[in-house]
C-alpha cells in the first residue's frame, strides 16, 4: 500500500469517526462505511479504526469476524447473495444458483477470475413472499427465474 493511499484511507476513516463519534458504540457503523466503499476492511483500516476509537485492533477484528457482512479479505467487485432459506429454496433457488454457476463458470462461494463477481449464499433476506430472491450489492431482486437471474448479472458493470 502506498503512503498516499494510507493517508487517504486514514483521512477517510477520520471523517467517519467525526460523523459517528469516537466512542466504541460507533464501531459497527464505521465498519459498515469502510466495507461499503472498499468491499473489505483491510488490516491497515482495522488498525486505524482501533487507534481512533482507542481500542485494541484485535477487538475490531473480533467484530469483523463475527458478522457475515463484514470481511477482512477483498471479495469480487460485485457481491451476489442468493437466499438459501426454505421459502426461496422451495421456489427454485437451486435452479437459479445452478444457472449462475454455469454462466460465470464458478461454484457458489467463489469469485470469478476477472474479480467481477463473488457469489455466495445468504440466510433469509426477508423476501420470502417473493422468492427466489437475491441481492446484488445493496439492491435486491425477487421472483427470479434462472434466466432472469443471469440477465441481471449481465447488466452489472
Amino acid at each position: 500500500m502506498l503512503i498516499v493511499e494510507k493517508n487517504a484511507l486514514s483521512e477517510e476513516i477520520e471523517s467517519y469517526v467525526n460523523k459517528y463519534g469516537n466512542d466504541r458504540s460507533a464501531l459497527l457503523m464505521i465498519l459498515h462505511e469502510i466495507q461499503k466503499k472498499h468491499r473489505h476492511i483491510s488490516e491497515f483500516a482495522q488498525q486505524e479504526v482501533a487507534r481512533l476509537l482507542n481500542i485494541h485492533p484485535v477487538e475490531v477484528y473480533s467484530v469483523i469476524s463475527f458478522f457475515a457482512f463484514l470481511n477482512d479479505n477483498p471479495k469480487g467487485r460485485n457481491l451476489v447473495r442468493v437466499c438459501q432459506t426454505i421459502s426461496c429454496d422451495m421456489k427454485g433457488k437451486k435452479q437459479v444458483v445452478e444457472a449462475i454457476e454455469r454462466e460465470l463458470g464458478i461454484k457458489i462461494g467463489n469469485t470469478t477470475k476477472d474479480n467481477k463477481f463473488t457469489v455466495e449464499y445468504a440466510n433469509c433476506l426477508g423476501l420470502c413472499d417473493m422468492g427466489p430472491a437475491m441481492a446484488i450489492n445493496d439492491r435486491v431482486y425477487t421472483n427470479l427465474t434462472p434466466e432472469k437471474a443471469v440477465e441481471l448479472l449481465a447488466k452489472v458493470k
Binding site: F67, S87, C124, G126, L127, C128, D138, T142
Partner: protein
Amino acid sequence: MESIIFNPKEKKRTGPVIFSEYKRGDAIRKIITMSREDILFELKDSKLKGRGGAGFPTSTKWMLTAAAKSDHKFIVCNADEGEPGTFKDRVLLSEYPELVFDGMVIGGYTIGAQQGILYLRGEYEYLLKPLEDYLEDMRKDNLLGNNILGKEGFNFDISIVLGSGAYVCGEETALIESLEGHRGEPRNRPPYPINTGYLGRPTCVNNVETLSAITHIVMKGGSWFSKFGTDKSSGSKLFSVSGDCAKPGVYELPWGIKVSELLKIVEAKNTKAVQIGGASGYCIPKSQFERAIAYEDIPTGGSVMIFDESRDMLHVLKNFMEFFVDESCGQCTPCRIGNHKLLEGVEMIERGEYTFSYINKLKDLGRTMQVTSKCGLGQSSPNPFISILENFKDEIFNRSNGGRNGR
C-alpha cells in the same frame, strides 16, 4: 423484479388495527397532553404482548424501564428481523414508518428516554436512506428534536444503526452488545436491559410491530385494542405467509384464528404441513389444522410457512438445521455443538444410516439444549427437529434407503 419501493403514499393494505388509518404525528400531538401514567394505564388495558415472538407483556416492560432511575435511558426498536419466513417488519418500515417512529417517540416520552435507536438488519440496507430522509422530515416538523411540538423539556431523537447479517442479534442482549461495538453474543440475564442495557443504562427493546401497535393504542385506547383477538392474546397480529399458497404476503388477522382458516384466506391447496413461528417454531401436521394461533395454543412471531403434499419434510428440516448451525454464535456449548449433532442426525437419516436409538438420543439432546442454552436461539432451535421427526415420522422413516424422494 425490483419490488422494494419506498412509497408511503401508495397504500392498499387494510386491517383492523395496524393497517387502519393513521396520520404522522397525531399520536405525538395527543401524548403531550397526557401524563406518563395515563399512557402506561392505556397500555396495561390493551394487554399488548411483545410481537417479536417471546410475548412479554409490553406494559410491564415499559413500567419497569420508566421506574428505573437513571438520567439516560434508551428505547431501541428491534428491526433485526432474521427469523426465516418473517418479513412483516420490512413491510411496516417501508410502508408505515410513521407508526414505528411515532411509537418510538411515545416510548421516549413514557419511559423518559432521550434517545431512540432503530437497529436495522443489514439485509434491509436499501431502507436505510429512505428511513433517514423520513427522520429528517420529522425533525423539520419538530416531531423529533428539542422541545417536541413546543412541549418544554420533551427532547427525543432517533438514530439508525445497521446490523451486519447475524440472526442472533435479534436477541435483545446480543443486539445491545453489537450496538456497543462488540461481537453480537448474548449476555447472561439478569441483569435485564430494563435496568442495565445499552451502555449500562436502562433500555427498552421493542419489536417494530409492537411499537406500531402502541401508536394505534394511544390514538384509540387500550380497551378498543383488547376487543380484538382472544382473552390472553389481545389485538391483531401480522402474519408473514410464504411457501405453497396462491397469495403469499403480509396479512393482519386477529389472534385466535384457526390454522385452517388462515390457509383458506391465503388460498393454500393440498397442504401437508405448516411451520408456525419460523425455523425456531413448530411444524403442524394436517391433523392439527383446527388448532388456534394464539398465546393460549400456538404462539408465534408471525411467520407462517406452508408446505404442500409434494414437499420432502426431511429436506425442510435439513434446511432449518443448516440455518441454525450457520447462525449459532458459538458462545455456549449446547447450541454450538448441539445444532451440529442434530444436523448430522438429519444427514444420517437422509443417507439411511441411522438407528432409532441414536435418533431418540438426539431428541433427548434437543430437549437438553432447550433448557441449557444461554439464549433463545439454542433454546428453540431443537423445536423443528423434535416436531418434524415426531409429526412426520411415517414419511421420514419409511423413505427408501439412501434415496431422496421428491424435491
